[in-house]
């Protein structure tokens, strides 16, 4: 986008819509010419060039004149687009000879451009209506051969198939949000279906030989109707009753609510009768309320207080009885000594289950920092293959950290 700054988001959206259609149609042509349409400006430049040719009269224009006639675009862009247009013969030389400077434009590309712009704005349904009308006219014309009708029938079949497929795909597997966003332009055209059905009936009446093609068209129509019904059903099921009122756009409701007076709005409630506010009081309820009020003589009830200050606080509870047990056990293991090796402790314990318990107790005592005992481990290693403990690491259990006790 060469000139992005002054564009609003809406402009950009409109342009990209035009571009989308344009790209679909011209991609093949333009790829051959090595010039894919890559921004919406190019479309505008094309239009400007063709308009310049329209104003030029039968003489035609040279490239320089075209560049001059398109002052809004830079000369390079105009030249490039001119080449592209020439390559798909939208612009041709006035006389087919070497060194011919004057070019003239053909009308078909401009018509195509107009068509594309409108197609992108209306989603193609208006064009489809016109096509149907024209096909109907052609059908009634006596000069039309059955071959032409067959071709038109096939075209219509293709169109409706193409119309039905994306709706069906959206209705089946897309999220409801994308369904709502994309399917709305494709939905809700029952008169299109009616028109197509009338065309089908007329064709079948007039050319009984074309019944197979008519059947194809009828099936395509049915598929389209099914797709629309399924999509609408899914939208309705998701939106609930209120949003589903004919699938009108929200703006329509908003406008209605804003523009109508109170009478119009109230008419929606015609035929409905509402109960009067009619609370019923029994005499007992009355009596109860009054008695309650009379009894509440003392004014406010004091808020409930905790009863903690009434009773004695509980006697001193030992927060950690295990510490005492462990300390006693440590004294027992040390047996008056200040330090004892772990190997000695294990040897005192005798068999392995007892030794294991001693080991766990020693570790537990060590892991309590409030107890003044500790285990330190060294690098040494005692090996005794005859004992139940074939090896013992160097370690000392000691009375320690007297200051932290």
């Amino acid at each position: 986008m060469t000139d992005a700054a002054p564009l609003t988001l809406d402009d950009h959206e409109a342009e990209s819509a035009v571009l989308g259609i344009y790209r679909q149609v011209f991609a093949v042509l333009a790829r051959n010419a090595n010039a894919m349409v890559d921004d919406a400006d190019s479309v505008g430049v094309d239009e400007a060039i063709l308009r310049a040719f329209a104003g030029a009269g039968p003489v035609g224009m040279t490239i320089e004149q075209v560049v001059l006639a398109c002052p809004n675009s830079s000369a390079d862009v105009v030249r490039r687009r001119f080449e592209v247009l020439r390559s798909y013969r939208a612009v041709t030389r006035v006389n087919e000879r070497a060194h011919e400077l004057f070019y003239q434009a053909t009308f078909a590309p401009y018509v195509m451009l107009l068509f594309l712009r409108r197609l992108s704005q209306t989603g193609g349904q208006a064009e489809l209506h016109r096509m149907l009308s024209m096909a109907r006219l052609a059908l009634d014309d006596d000069d039309t051969t059955p071959e032409v009708v067959r071709e038109q029938l096939l075209e219509m079949t293709t169109v409706f198939r193409l119309l039905a497929n994306p709706i069906m795909q959206l209705a089946r597997s897309a999220t409801v949000e994308s369904l709502r966003a994309q399917a709305q332009p494709l939905l809700g055209n029952s008169d299109l279906l009616d028109k197509a059905r009338m065309y089908h009936n007329a064709a079948a009446d007039r050319h009984p030989r074309l019944l197979p093609e008519c059947t194809q068209l009828r099936m395509a129509l049915a598929a389209y109707r099914d797709a629309v019904n399924i999509a609408a059903g899914r939208l309705l099921a998701h939106a609930g009753k209120t949003l589903a009122l004919g699938l009108l756009p929200t703006e329509r409701w908003r406008t209605f609510a804003r523009d109508s007076d109170a009478e119009d709005l109230a008419r929606a409630l015609d035929g409905l009768l509402f109960d009067a506010p009619e609370p019923y009081f029994t005499a007992d309820e009355l009596l109860e309320a009054v008695e309650e009020g009379l009894m509440a003589d003392s004014g406010r009830v004091p808020p409930p207080r905790s009863r903690s200050d009434d009773e004695q606080p509980p006697t001193e509870v030992d927060p950690d009885p295990e510490a005492k047990l462990l300390a006693a056990r440590a004294e027992e293991l040390l047996a008056g000594r200040d330090v004892v090796t772990v190997a000695q402790l294990l040897a005192d314990a005798g068999d392995w289950p007892t030794g294991r318990r001693v080991l766990s107790e020693v570790t537990a005592i060590h892991l309590r920092p409030e107890l003044p005992y500790a285990v330190t481990w060294g690098d040494g290693w005692w090996v005794d293959v005859t004992s139940t403990r074939t090896w013992v690491s160097d370690g000392w259990f000691r009375r320690d950290r007297p200051e932290s006790a």
């Binding site: 009768l273 007992d284 009355l286 009596l287 309320a289 009379l294």
Partner: protein, 179 residues
């Protein structure tokens, strides 16, 4: 009176509460005429048997129409009853008009925990709500009387109401008949 007219009257009462008509008109089936004190107009209220009244709703556990601050509103109604019912031996309807100031005085005993401002708010809001649903009628800015709906209390409930009447102390000393 045709069946259609009767149905129409019932619909009117259902959607608009008790209906006030001029004294000469006919009475649709199933409705009761409630004559005003001056006999110039008549209220039409549904004449339902006890087994078909609104009490059936509570019997079946169906929530009826709710009312904002129903306790406070009930106390306001009780104060109105006390002031507008000069003789509990007689019928509740039509009662007599009472100034809202008196009702405020009675209400003061019924809601002792509230201060003056809050009580005044309760009184104004309660009177408005009760008037909207036809329990009381506001006359002018500071007078009210009982509405036609109080006539739908049955005899059993009336005895409860008499008890209630005696329960509420009267604050205005210049009423010899309420001793």
């Amino acid at each position: 009176m045709t069946e259609r007219d009767t149905a129409l009257w019932w619909a009117r009462i259902r959607s608009g509460g008790p209906q006030r008509v001029s004294a000469g008109g006919p009475t649709p089936a199933g409705l009761r005429r409630l004559v005003e004190a001056d006999a110039q107009a008549v209220w039409l209220i549904p004449d339902l048997p006890d087994s078909a009244g609104p009490a059936v709703l509570t019997e079946y556990g169906v929530p009826g129409t709710s009312m904002l601050d129903s306790r406070g509103t009930l106390r306001v109604l009780a104060a109105c009853l006390r002031c507008c019912w000069p003789d509990p031996a007689a019928d509740l309807w039509p009662g007599r008009p009472a100034p809202t100031g008196d009702i405020g005085q009675v209400l003061r005993r019924l809601v002792p925990a509230r201060n003056a401002v809050s009580r005044q708010q309760l009184l104004a809001a309660g009177l408005r709500r009760l008037a909207a649903s036809g329990w009381i009628l506001l006359e002018g800015t500071d007078t009210m009387r009982m509405g036609p709906r109080v006539a739908s209390f049955g005899s059993l409930e009336l005895s409860t109401l008499r008890e209630l009447w005696r329960l509420i102390p009267d604050t205005a000393p210049d009423r010899p008949e309420t001793s």
